[in-house]
Symmetry: C3
Subunit: 159 residues, 3 copies
Amino acid sequence: MPLWKIYHPAGSLTAEDKKDLSERITKVYASVPIPKFYVVVIFEEITKDACFVGGELHNKFIRFKVDQIARTLPGAVIREWWMRTLDEVIAPYVRDRGYDWEISIDETPFDLWSLQGEIPPPFESLAEKRWVKENKASPYSLAEKLPINLVLAPGIADR
Amino acid sequence: MPLWKIYHPAGSLTAEDKKDLSERITKVYASVPIPKFYVVVIFEEITKDACFVGGELHNKFIRFKVDQIARTLPGAVIREWWMRTLDEVIAPYVRDRGYDWEISIDETPFDLWSLQGEIPPPFESLAEKRWVKENKASPYSLAEKLPINLVLAPGIADR
Amino acid sequence: MPLWKIYHPAGSLTAEDKKDLSERITKVYASVPIPKFYVVVIFEEITKDACFVGGELHNKFIRFKVDQIARTLPGAVIREWWMRTLDEVIAPYVRDRGYDWEISIDETPFDLWSLQGEIPPPFESLAEKRWVKENKASPYSLAEKLPINLVLAPGIADR
C-alpha cells in the first residue's frame, strides 16, 4: 500500500522500463515521506485482443489502477496536484511513446491493512520513522506509536 | 472509468464474445450518457485450478469486478435498477451458457482519476458533452466546466 | 464477495496449497457466518520480473488483495482482530516459507453486488440462513428478507 497494478500490452515494457518506472513511482511516495517498501508495483500483461475501450479493441492502451490509503490526500488542491504529479511520473512511458492511458486511484481503509504480520504504525509516528530508516516492517512498542512531534504542554499554541 | 475486469476460465470466451460483450457494456454507459471511451473492459483468463468458490475448485465461474465513480448512482432504486440492468447485459455469457457468476461494483473517487493526462470535466458540463461527441480526451477551458444547463437568473424557478 | 485476489510468484503455490489455503480462508468467513459460496479466491501468478517493492525487483513477495462488503467490520477492536485472524490464516504460506507479504482489504458497497442474477438478501435474514444451508443462490421472497430474530413487540427490551 500503495499498490500499483499496471495493465499493459504484452511486450510494451522491457525489464528495464519496469525497473525504472517502479523507481520513479517509489520516489514520489518516499518524498511524502512514507517507507519505500510500502510501494508495491505489479506489472500485468494484457493478452492480445483482451482490452476494449469504448467497445473497440485497443492494443495500445495502458491502464494504471492504484490503491492508496484513505484520508492521505486531504483537500481538493492536494488531490489535483497529486494526480498531475503522477501524470508526470508515467508520461515517459505512455504519452511519449504513443500509448493511450488512464489512471485512477482508489482509497482503501488504513486499518484493514498489514504487512509482514504487522499492522503499520500511525503516520508520522516514531515507529514509522524507524520503518522509513530501516526500510522494513518490524514489531514496535506502544510508545513508538506516538507522533514524532508530541506536544502536550498547555500554552504552546499561544506563542 | 468505468473499468470492468472480467476474470474468466481460459477458453470460455472467444474474440467475438469479448468484442460483443464489451459493446453491450459500453452501450449501457453511453446511454447515461457518458463518453464511450470512458468504458474500459479488460478480460483476464483465470488459469486452470486457480479459482475457488466456497473452498472448492470451480472452473466454470466468471467474476466481474467493476470500478465506477463514486456518487454516480444516487439512491436505492437507481442502484438496484443498475445491478439488474447489468445482470441482463451479461446474462447471455453466463446464465445462458451454464456458468456460475458474480458481479460487484466498487465506487472510487471522482477526483483521483485522469486520462490522457487530463482530469475529466464535471458531469453534464459543456466539456463533457464535447468529449462525448469527439469520443476522446482533450484540453478544455474553465468556461467549458460550466453545466450545459446553467441557470443563474433569479425567478426562473417560479414560472 | 469476499473476493480474494492472491498475487504470487509463478510456481510458489502448488494445486494442493491453493486448495488448502482457499479452504482456510473460507472457514473463517463461514464462521461469521456467511454462506460459504460467497467466498471466492482467485490465484494469479506474477510473471518473473514483474513485481517491485520499494523500487526493487522482488520475486519472493505475495500480495493479498481482498474485497469485502462495507460495514461488516464495525469498530476498531473487531477490525484489528480481523486483520490478526487473517494473518494467522495465511502465515503458513508466507511467513513459514520465507516469503514477504502484504494484505489489504477494501470495503465495497453491499448494494452494488449480485450473484447468479440475485441480489443477496440482508445479513442475518431468513433468506441468508437458507442460502447458508443450501450453499447456493436462489430467489427469495419479501418475507424471507426479514431478520431471523424479528422483535416488534413493545416492552421486550425492558425485561
